[in-house]
Amino acid sequence: MAVAVANMTTAALDWVSVKFNAPLAGMVVFGVHIHGHLIVEVLLIAVILFQLSRKSYKPPKKPLTEKEIDDLCDEWAPEPLHPPITEEMLSEPPTLESAAGPHTIIDGKEVVNFASANYLGLIGNEKINDSCIGSLEKYGVGSCGPRGFYGTIDVHLDCEARISKFLGTPDSILYSYGISTIFSVIPAFCKKGDIIVADEGVHWAVQNGLYLSRSTIVYFKHNDMSSLKSTLEKVTRGNRRAEKIRRYIVVEAIYQNSGQIAPLDEIIRLKEKYRFRVVLDESHSFGVLGSSGRGLAEHYGVPVEKIDIITAGMGNALATDGGFCTGSVRVVDHQHLCLHFLLVLQLPLLIIWRRIQLFFQN
């Protein structure tokens, strides 16, 4: 059986080869012999080329019709703007009926105030209140315009000069709201592509500033210098591009969330070794730390030129509103043209001018 099949296949193959190699099947074109099998190969190539040249099948694109869009719009139901109100959300904070000094009146009762950040007790100071009244009558309450368009009062400029003189830095600039100071300063200096090494425990305003800056952010363990060192090492090692991009360390002097003090001397040592710039937020330590209230640099005995950018909100020790940022002339100049410090309060600023005078007297 198998032998018969084998014989038949060989017979068939012989017949095919004879036919193809027969003199009729062969042709002579331009002196070249073309055998029969070449014709099959040419036909095959022609079929392949034909298939390749045809367009592949794609289902046709149908844009939505007007009626379909109408239907989709009718069907769509938005979420409500606010989630359901819970019991927690209904609680109201206590309402004060007198100044937020060490003793205050709530609901007719006199209570001791442990909630206000009135570190130097400047609320209710007679001298300050009198000078405020004087400035109120002269300048009014608001400045009715951004710094660039006649909103700069000469007292603001005096205030900036006083702050720089007090802290020992070349120049400073005022902002109009405490928390917006830090979240305007960080995006002004850190752009996309820069590296920021920040402490884990920084407060919301700093975190917002870091988010708005769109730089690469690496966090280190809260107030842990060995973690900072290893993070700096990791970020700079093997990174040849690190020389060209700007690098910052962002820390707070006294952390709002945990109350710890940052070890400035360690940080400065690490910063000089790895060539980073330091951004220090002194909201809670200005007027508090140091023998004359000049902040963390005085507390640790570090020359203030070593810190590149110092920011502070004045809502704490200085009992007013607003913030400032000091540093070298280049740093402050750069901020003049980043339009974040828009409208400025006058009234409280005159207060702090007087306060810094008081510092000098003390």
Binding site: H82, E97, I179, W204, L212, H334
Partner: protein, 489 residues
């Protein structure tokens, strides 16, 4: 709308090109001259790379003395501008002790509350003595005084909404509220000429942002339809919510927004509306309640109304007015409320007194007088400027009047010439406006008297002729005189 003639566009582009070329040449020389000097700070990348602050260093610094002029008095109708001089070609400016009294056409003092007022100031002083100038705490931790709760109720009543919440600064209001209301998965559709604070807030929220053509409700409808049909990018899931953000008066255009049409479109497509009335609250409308009153829109139709107290009320801070539930939710979650220092009590008292004056609750009709005055002043001034041939933007009744300058050289020229004649104006250029469309912006106040306005017009006309910004033909008096003569004949 701004119609930029071809010839002006060409000359402006040529001017900017020339300034750019000069700036590049100077940078080149600076690089060559600095080459032998070694780098001052080794290993630290520069704060600003070469091209990032090119505009600031080479173009803005040339006209720096026109911006940031310090004043030595309250920003009332007449202000004392402090003179400054520069020894190094405008790079640093030093103050002198000379003061010039100038007519103030630049501050946002719409109702004249900037200076000491007979009703407001005594009450502010009283509140200062009672509550001290600062609270030193955040709202939730003991920064809420009776004044704050009173102002929240009063602001809500003034605007026509059930409840309101206060913030210490207007800019922060927008940047902190928008992320609290909408997050990733939502859509924000904002007008193309919205203020920087809204843009920042929208970016900070994480939601997708789409822009519609300035003040064009039909384009808004197109964008809404397209976006609802498509859904979120890439996943095509339906949007969680859509918020449309518009402003009452656009500060760089002086235009009112087409509120009734926009509200109608938003209602049809179930989108929420957010109205920023920073410039319009207190300044327009028959009783000063803003653009809703002027255009006849019911405040209940707008979901969230935002405003600031800096412009018309002469104080500081901002507010959001919406339904009770939204305000309760915001008080609980908004970071600016939870972490930001509360408004200074005297500033709060100033706003309370100002609103009482406007509403007439102080027992006089000074509020109504002020509102009528500012409307008359704005309309008169605008009509006169049109007659003189200036290209003035903005709608009727709006106290903000931009005058087109276009060429970069005219900006400092206009500003300096006006100052020489004792008129203080504000000029705005890139990046607050598009590059080719620089302008001078006039803000009229209720405390300007008719003589002040006439003086201002006289000076503007003279300076306009000198600088060459009267782009439109002058409607001359001669044509009126001829018509009269014809009648007599």
């Amino acid at each position: 709308m701004v119609r930029l003639p071809y010839f002006t566009a060409l000359t402006t582009l040529f001017s900017y090109g020339l300034l750019f070329a000069f700036g590049q040449m100077r940078d080149l020389f600076r690089k060559i001259l600095d080459l032998p000097k070694s780098k001052k700070v080794q290993g630290y990348a520069p704060i600003c790379l070469g091209l990032e602050d090119f505009y600031t260093r080479r173009l803005f610094l040339r006209a720096q003395d026109c911006f940031g002029r310090p004043i030595a008095s309250a920003p009332d109708a007449w202000i004392d501008v402090v003179e400054r001089y520069s020894n190094d070609n405008n790079k640093t400016l030093h103050r002198t002790s000379n003061i010039t009294k100038c007519l103030n056409l630049g501050s946002y003092n719409y109702l004249g509350f900037a200076a000491a007022d007979e009703y407001c100031t005594p009450r502010v002083i009283e509140s200062l003595k009672q509550y001290s100038p600062g609270t030193c705490s955040v709202r939730v931790d003991g920064g809420t005084t009776k004044l704050h709760t009173e102002l929240e109720e009063l602001a809500a009543r003034f605007v026509g909404k059930p409840a309101a919440i206060l913030f210490g600064m207007g800019y922060v209001t927008n940047s902190a509220i928008i992320p609290a209301l909408i997050a990733k998965g939502g859509l924000i559709i904002s007008d193309s000429l919205n203020h920087n604070s809204i843009v920042n807030g929208a970016r900070g929220s994480g939601a997708t942002v789409r822009v519609f053509q300035h003040n064009t409700p039909s384009h808004l409808e197109e964008v809404l339809r397209e976006q609802i049909a498509e859904g979120q990018p890439r996943t095509h899931r339906p949007w969680k919510k859509i918020i449309v953000i518009v402003e009452g008066i656009y500060s760089m255009e002086g235009e009112l927004c087409k509120l009734p049409e926009i509200i109608a479109v938003c209602k049809k497509y179930k989108a929420y509306t957010y109205l920023d009335e920073a410039h319009s609250i207190g300044a327009i409308g028959k009783t000063g309640r803003g653009v809703c009153e002027l255009l006849g829109v019911d405040p209940a139709d707008v979901d969230i109304m935002m405003g600031t107290f800096t412009k018309s009320f002469g104080s500081c801070g901002g507010y959001i007015a919406a339904s009770k539930e939204i305000i309760q939710y915001l008080k609980h979650t908004c970071p600016a409320h939870l972490y930001g220092t509360s408004m200074s009590p005297p500033a709060v008292q100033q706003v309370i007194s100002a609103i009482k004056v406007i509403l007439g609750e102080d027992g006089s009709n000074r509020g109504a007088q002020k509102l009528a005055q500012i409307r008359d002043n704005s309309n008169f001034f605008r009509a006169e400027l049109h007659k003189m041939g200036f290209e003035v933007l903005g709608d009727e009744d709006s106290p903000v009047m931009p005058i087109m300058l276009y060429n970069p050289a005219k900006i400092p020229a206009f500003s300096r010439e006006c100052l020489k004649q004792n008129v203080a104006v504000v000029t705005v250029a890139f990046p607050a406006t598009p590059l080719l469309l620089a302008r001078a912006r006039i803000c009229i106040s209720a405390s300007h008297s008719r003589e002040d306005l006439m003086r201002g017009l006289e000076v503007l006309s003279k300076v306009g002729d000198l600088v060459g910004i009267k782009y439109f033909p002058v409607e001359s008096e001669n044509s009126h005189a001829e018509a009269k003569l014809k009648k007599l004949d």
